[in-house]
């Protein structure tokens, strides 16, 4: 009895301790920095804590988070069901362009937004048919999704607008809650783009689906032990199609939010998406496939990026490239050294219904 208790306690400890440690260290160092900044306002720590507590930092972290976090949520749905969707980057690109294009021809920002979501979902559907229906390798198909979008979006822009960059359209603007928006720091939460609020809803919604609904359990079972789900009488194929389509919808919302926030799609080089889809993968891995965890990791990465921008303005230059690789360094450390992220057992494997 006591043995069982102890081993359970140990496994709980193992399951949570390292992640808790990372979170604890992060919080402790931020608190230490803020204290140091408070005590010595003129030191580097002072400047840093000023930047950290600035409302602008939070506002820009939130804005940077939107496309990444949406894509990360989408990635969670797909991968938890057993389909690794590394084409998130491509879904973001295609929806970012389509949203601007549809907004441009219809004149409606939200119609454009819907257009972006539809485009991304269609591309995700293609990915689903190829990987689930025709059992193609998920990684290769996912790379294809990225490369198709990377080529197609700037090309379409070139054909339609004679430039890889589209003209500017109306933006989604922002929603401001009176009074609350004037709060220091947290005020940024109450004066933000509608897509920020949609993201909050999506994070909660995703969490709810996984934790509370039967469908969420089926997705988990489909990625962990598809045979168990199949013998329980639920079609693994249907669940996986649904999960991949949801990932298309969510990534589409992220891409549309990204371009409509600026009112323009820029298609030069890696396009305006510029690796956000890959950071999204890192974010959900770091967040251990938990929607809330993925959102917090996104905020951490985006926060670093925002901080860097703010510091740049204050004359403390940290190379942007260095900040941009942080998520990847972090994920390698987390996966290799800490190793607490547990991939779904059957992720990446095809499921054969006939036995």
């Amino acid at each position: 009895m006591s043995d069982a208790d102890r081993s359970e306690g140990e496994s709980l400890l193992k399951r949570y301790s390292t992640r808790a440690l990372v979170a604890g260290v992060t919080i402790a160092s931020v608190v230490a920095l803020l204290l140091a900044g408070l005590l010595f306002p003129d030191s580097l720590a002072g400047t840093l804590s000023d930047a950290l507590t600035s409302r602008n930092t939070l506002a820009s972290a939130l804005r940077l988070s939107v496309p990444i976090a949406f894509a990360a949520l989408g990635g969670i749905f797909a991968e938890k069901s057993g389909v690794i969707n590394i084409g998130l980057e491509g879904l973001l690109i295609i929806s970012a362009f389509s949203a601007i294009y549809v907004a441009d021809i219809t004149g409606g920002v939200w119609i454009g937004f819907a257009g972006g979501v539809v485009a991304s979902t269609l591309l995700a559907a293609l990915f689903a048919v190829v990987t689930i229906g025709f059992r193609a390798d998920q990684i290769i198909a996912g790379l294809a999704v990225w490369l198709i979008a990377l080529g197609l979006a700037p090309f379409a822009s070139q054909v339609i607008y004679s430039s890889p960059n589209t003209p500017t359209v109306a933006t989604t603007g922002s929603i401001t809650v009176p009074v609350l928006a004037d709060l220091p720091f947290f005020g940024a939460l109450f004066s933000a783009s509608p897509s920020v609020y949609m993201l909050f809803a999506a994070v909660f919604g995703s969490w709810y689906v996984f934790e509370r609904t039967a469908f969420g359990r089926w997705i988990r079972a489909s990625g962990e032990n598809p045979k168990a789900l199949d013998t329980a009488g639920v079609s693994v194929t249907h669940v996986r199609y649904a999960a991949v389509l949801i990932s298309g919808v969510l990534a589409g919302m992220g891409g549309a939010a990204l371009s409509l926030d600026l009112g323009q799609f820029t298609g030069n080089g890696p396009t305006m998406v510029n690796g956000k889809g890959f950071i999204a993968i890192v974010a959900y891995l770091f967040g251990n496939y938990n929607p809330v965890g993925a959102f917090l990791s996104t905020m951490l990465f985006a926060g670093l990026d925002a901080l860097q921008t703010v510091l740049q303005l204050q004359g403390i230059g940290i190379p942007r490239q260095l900040i941009r690789i942080t998520p990847f360094v972090v994920v390698i450390l987390v996966l290799a050294l800490v190793g607490r992220t547990r991939l779904p057992e059957a992720a990446g494997e095809h499921y054969d219904t006939e036995e």
Partner: protein, 535 residues
């Protein structure tokens, strides 16, 4: 309440093999029925038909007299048939309750949420009703195998099963858990459930079942009352008399000791000793046979000799040298050939063609691969020679291994291993699931090698085979050699008694201690179905 199961004339054919041949089975309601047979006898196939995983080629399934057509397990579940597979169908990171209710979750709020308290209550009620001890909130990955099995049983009961099929339920259990399982089965039948359990262990069938049906080579060879039979009778039914193969045994000059095993103890995957202090030696030109009911330590012994498993104690010598912890490669290089019992798992790479498969084990042979480069034209010549010499059909080196029938796959493996110029051949069930023509062919080749002075260790559960080919025959029971006999001077009945654990002279079964009393199983070879024969 309970369903009586009737299977009428079930035949199930797979390409090239008949897994079930006109099998009739009648199971009385509220009883435990054991389906006994060797691996590959067709037990699991038959139950997969009852569970809707396979549609029978011919024959009908009736429940309570009503003919049923099951197109999927879903149909079988709806008709009240549940199956607990050997490999549990559980989602490890989910809780017991989540696993049991998967696919049938109680809902609330118009289906928008799982009613978790209702689900938990249902599981607690169910567990109470049948006296199961399970924690509904524990994660499956944190509970023992025995508990996981109870979760599987609860899953079937939650779906309203009246008939439960258990496939080799004791294979993964400790002795204590086996006792608990049998208590559970008793409780279930007391409450009107009908149980069919698949096993190849005589003792368990006798202990837990009311009635026992024995399958052999896809046919039912008898149904007996558990109280009115003996282990000896069952062993005879199981192993049986097969097509008499006229093996010209002949005599051969025996040479020096090629291999010797002294006092080895080998643990199985669960850490329980499967081989318990076995010693023997084999001379050149001699076939040393090991007979016994499957799962008495044969697999582990063979794995220890061939270098796939390290013995815990004891010593294995080969050509005078201690090879107890030598690698596979060293043993191959020293002249040890191995025909594994599971050709698809260990003998071949199914997606490779025969050229590539012919190279396996010889990838360091300077003849075929010098300086790290494979000489493909020589390798192809090597494969062609095996195909030609061992009559592998179709004679096409470019054919992928999975496209061959089981018999031809086996002939190719035998050819590859015998062509190594071995000093010792370890042949584990070399003719399992192989057609009669190929059986004779393989037997002839084995005897040819013996004539050439090669030492042969032959493990088989086919009595005819080991008796016909061996010069000396050891009978293994629960990891120990019960006796080593001269096969020509021993009758089948005497061997049957030995295989059931009756020691010569003492007139009774060895009084094994509690921990030793469980029969062993073979983790590597649990799948008793015709899958192995499908091309």
């Amino acid at each position: 309440m309970a369903s009586a199961v009737h299977l009428d004339g079930i035949t199930k054919r797979f390409p090239g093999v008949v897994a079930n041949d006109n099998v009739d089975l009648e199971v009385e309601p509220g009883t435990v029925h054991a389906l006994l047979g060797e691996n590959g006898a067709g037990k699991t196939t038959l139950m997969n038909v009852l569970y809707g995983l396979y549609e029978p080629t011919s024959g009908t399934v009736r429940l309570d007299g009503e003919p049923q057509t099951f197109r999927s397990p879903r149909d079988a579940i709806d008709a009240g048939v549940g199956m607990i597979h050997q490999h549990f169908m559980l989602v490890d990171p989910m809780t017991v309750t989540e696993n049991i209710t998967l696919g049938n979750e109680p809902r609330k709020w118009g289906g928008l949420a799982v009613d978790r308290s209702a689900a938990r209550e249902a599981i607690v009620d169910l567990a109470d009703r049948y006296g199961f001890d399970v924690d509904p909130d524990a994660r499956v990955e944190d509970i023992s195998v025995g508990e996981q099995q109870r979760v599987e049983i609860l899953k079937a009961l939650y779906r309203g099963a009246d008939t439960l099929i258990l496939d080799e339920p004791t294979a993964v259990l400790t002795p204590q858990e086996v006792d608990e399982l049998f208590d559970v089965l008793e409780e279930l039948t007391a409450q009107g459930k009908t149980i069919i359990f698949i096993t190849h262990k005589l003792g368990e069938a006798m202990r837990a079942a009311d009635e026992i049906s024995v399958l052999r080579d896809g046919r039912k060879v008898g149904s007996v009352d558990a109280d009115g039979t003996t282990q000896e009778e069952l062993a005879e039914l199981m192993v049986g008399r097969e097509v008499l193969l006229d093996v010209d045994h002949g005599t051969a000059e025996t040479g020096d000791v090629v291999a010797s095993v002294s006092d080895i103890v080998v643990e199985d995957d669960r850490g329980v000793p499967a081989v318990n202090g076995v010693s023997f030696e084999i001379r050149g030109g001699e076939v040393f046979g090991i007979a016994g009911v499957d799962g008495n330590g044969q697999s582990e012994l063979v794995e220890a000799v061939t270098g796939l498993r390290t013995p815990d104690t004891g010593e294995i010598r080969f050509r005078g040298e201690d090879v107890t912890s030598a690698s596979r490669r060293d043993r191959i290089d020293a002249g040890m050939a191995y025909v594994p019992e599971d050709r698809q798992e260990r003998g071949l790479v199914m997606e490779f063609d025969l050229v590539e498969n012919g190279l396996l084990g010889s990838q360091h042979d300077p003849e075929l691969a010098a300086n790290g480069r494979i000489d493909w034209s020589k390798t192809r010549g090597h494969a062609d020679a095996i195909i030609d010499e061992y009559d592998v059909r179709p004679p096409d080196a470019d054919a992928e291994a999975h496209s061959l029938s089981g018999g031809n796959q086996q002939k190719f493996i035998v050819g590859r291993e015998f062509e190594r110029d071995p000093e010792l051949v370890v042949a584990s069930h070399p003719t399992r699931g192989v057609d009669v023509g190929s059986i004779e062919f393989i037997h002839e080749r084995l005897l040819e090698l013996r004539q050439q002075g090669v030492a042969i260790l032959l493990v088989s559960s086919k009595l005819e085979e080991v008796q016909g080919l061996s010069d000396r025959l050891a009978v293994v029971y629960e990891g120990e050699f019960i006796d080593v006999v001269d096969p020509d001077e021993t009758t089948e009945e005497e061997l049957g008694l030995l295989m059931a654990g009756e020691r010569p002279g003492d007139g009774g079964r060895p009084e094994a201690t509690e921990s030793e009393a469980t029969e062993r199983d073979e983790p590597a070879d649990l799948t008793d179905s015709a899958d192995g024969e499908r091309a």
